[in-house]
């Protein structure tokens, strides 16, 4: 099999399998931490806008 296109596709398939395997672990760990951080941000009560009296009083404290 001397067709260079055939070897190009073979390389793409091999790289895809390797890349998917890597992403599975990498995004599995990193994405998990990001979900944890995001849910912590959402769990906090909403911040009032900067000109709201609550925000002004907090600034003073």
């Amino acid at each position: 099999m001397n067709d260079p296109f055939a070897w190009f596709w073979t390389a793409m398939i091999a790289a895809s399998i390797a890349w998917y395997s890597f992403l599975l672990f990498y995004l599995g760990v990193k994405g998990g931490f990001e979900i944890y951080r995001m849910t912590r941000v959402f769990a906090k009560p909403p911040q009032p806008p900067p000109d709201h009296p609550d925000a002004q009083s907090r600034k003073g404290v």
């Binding site: 190009f8 895809s16 890349w19 995004l27 995001m38």
Partner: protein, 597 residues
């Protein structure tokens, strides 16, 4: 299916549903619901984008492309990956779009071209997007039934409040699946979509990697390349010796009959020839399989047809592809990564423009695998059936791959079938939830919102978007399960997608990079860009398959891009001359920060 298979599927389904429902507690307003409060970070964005853009329908059409065109069927994946990398490096379109802090693309158009353009763009997006999504459920159902070998004709009688419904297996399974997706998407919006996408990405990724390794192993490693080449060459010999001369002969006979006896007699002759030839194919199926020809008997209302593998490695030599087709696909790829609303939803949900670019740079190579791996399964399915007496009855190019996996890999190890089904359920659910949310957001944001006299309360807005998600879900059950695609799945998806891809791409480029663009040009781009694909769909639905009036996919697609850009340029020039066109600069966060107090 063994108990272990069922346990794997049950654990996945329960875990995913619970996680999706859990996130609804954090939804406080439409921004949380539609774009996760713009708090998404890079890796979650990559996982979500990857999961949403890989559904069962993706696996089905990429495998069909592999079945018909060998490994070169994966070319659109290479082109999309290259486009995504380019956009991820340069920030073309996505950076100014994210900086504009809009929730949808049409919202940006209102800033630049006025309300009417926003509304029209929203309408075109919805028509193209929902029609496009309309076939997802059926394709998903076909996959699941074929891989498990379930009886698709088995019917179930359901009774609700005195009403009786008769549902077949496919309708029942897919309606139940959509019901679960709707439940968590309606309640948790983008937050639920992100979390479930993450879980689905993991399950789906594992299933795809394991299946691909097993397919390569079963196909004999690199020896598979020679097998593909041989299958293609023997099919090509059949094409040259039997198929092409037969087509020429029929064409001449039909033309002669048309001349002497009229059109009706010619149509009847063509139909008779087709039926007779279909029957002869069916009778010779085993013998033809040895020559690299598979007999497709999937469409019950049409006679069987012959399938041969086109050039499996070189897209320029492949009869289904060629240079115009490649140009069309390259343009579509750039338009998809900059315009496709479900992809752009991740850009708009990103923390900032820099994060959006990083999501693209992190996800680009995923597109290569998204086409190459299922394409490999499809090509392997062709070779397998060619070596094993042809396609089973009722199986065609769409369903050959799941049947092949079910026949060859289900006994590889206990739990494989469970893993594969869970992976494909994950693929289907992540795509459905992402698409439902995106189109519902566009309907609310760009069709309903702009025509309201008074803005709705936060609560009413949230309720409206949720109702839209539900309405699209109901539409999908009816359209998706009862509509049958006339031809190749990928071409149907590209053409319906092109209804808006071409026009919105021209609009976005004009809005962001051409000061001379105005509302007249925008209107012309939308109308002309949509006219190409709609003409394609109508003409091809009316004329006969052999008719010279039939429009090829690449012509319809390229015409859409050409017309959209011509409309934008000519319309803007005319609009400027009349002095009545709207053209405002876009306010971006970067500008606000620089010029603000």
């Amino acid at each position: 299916m063994t108990p272990i298979d069922w346990i794997i599927i049950a654990v996945y389904m329960v875990g995913c549903t619970v996680a999706g429902l859990w996130m609804q507690r954090y939804v406080r307003n439409v921004a949380d619901f539609a774009v996760a409060g713009r708090k998404m970070e890079v890796n979650l964005g990559v996982a979500s984008l990857a999961a949403t853009e890989l559904g069962i329908v993706t696996v089905m059409y990429t495998a069909q492309a592999g079945f018909q065109n060998g490994l070169t069927g994966a070319l659109p994946g290479i082109l999309t990956a290259a486009a995504m990398l380019l956009v991820g490096i340069t920030g073309f379109v996505i950076v100014p779009l994210r900086n504009a802090r809009v929730m949808t693309i049409p919202e940006l158009f209102e800033n630049r071209f006025g309300k009417r353009v926003r509304w029209l763009a929203g309408l075109v997006i919805i028509i193209g997007g929902v029609l496009n999504m309309g076939v997802f459920l059926r394709m998903g159902g076909d996959f699941l039934l074929n891989i498990t070998g379930m009886d698709s004709q088995r019917t179930f009688l359901l009774e609700f409040w005195g009403w009786q419904f008769e549902l077949k297996t496919l309708e029942l399974v897919m309606t139940g699946l959509l019901g679960i997706v709707l439940l968590y998407t309606v309640l948790g919006g983008m937050l639920s979509v992100l979390i479930t996408d993450y879980l689905q990405f993991l399950v789906m990724g594992l299933g795809i990697v394991v299946t691909s390794v097993l397919v390569v192993w079963n196909a004999g490693g690199t020896g598979f390349l020679a097998e593909l080449e041989n299958t293609h060459q023997s099919g090509q010999r059949y094409q040259d010796k039997e198929e092409e001369p037969r087509k020429d002969r029929i064409k001449k006979e039909v033309a002669a009959v048309r001349k002497s006896e009229g059109r009706e007699a010619a149509d009847a002759l063509r139909e008779r020839q087709r039926t007779e030839y279909g029957e002869s194919l069916k009778a010779r199926a085993k013998e033809l399989a040895k020559q690299g020809v598979l007999v497709d008997t999937a469409k019950k209302e049409k006679p069987p047809t012959a399938e041969t593998m086109k050039h499996p490695f070189n897209p320029v030599k492949n009869q289904n592809q060629g240079i115009p087709w490649i140009v069309w696909q390259a343009l579509t790829s750039i338009a998809v990564v900059t315009t496709w609303q479900t992809t752009i939803a991740r850009v708009l949900a990103a923390r900032d423009a820099h994060t959006a670019k990083r999501v693209y740079r992190g996800a680009w190579f995923y597109w290569v695998g998204r086409w190459c791996l299922p394409g490999l399964w499809g090509a392997a399915a062709f070779c397998y059936f060619a070596a094993h007496g042809g396609l089973p009855p009722g199986i065609g190019s769409e369903t050959a791959m799941p049947r092949f996996l079910g026949l060859t890999l289900s006994s590889t190890f206990t739990g494989f079938l469970g893993l594969m089904i869970a992976a494909m359920l994950a693929a289907e659910m992540s795509t459905d939830s992402g698409y439902l949310l995106t189109w519902a957001t566009v309907i609310y944001n760009d069709l309903i919102g702009p025509v309201l006299r008074r803005p709705l309360s936060e609560r009413a807005r949230l309720l409206t978007v949720r109702a839209m998600v539900l309405a699209i879900g109901v539409f999908l059950v009816f359209w998706g399960l009862w509509y049958k695609i006339p031809g190749n799945i990928w071409e149907y998806l590209v053409i319906t997608g092109n209804i808006y891809l071409a026009s919105l791409f021209a609009l976005l480029v004009g809005a962001l990079y051409w000061r001379g663009a105005n509302s007249w040009g925008a209107m012309a781009a939308i109308v002309l860009g949509a006219a190409g694909p709609i003409t394609f769909l109508i003409v091809n639905a009316i004329v006969d398959e052999d008719s010279s009036w039939r429009i090829s996919g690449e012509l319809g697609g390229l015409a859409a891009f050409g017309l959209a850009f011509a409309g934008m340029i000519v319309g803007s020039l005319v609009g400027r001359a009349t002095g009545r066109a709207i053209a405002r600069p876009i306010q971006t966060t970067a500008e606000t920060e620089e010029t603000g107090p």
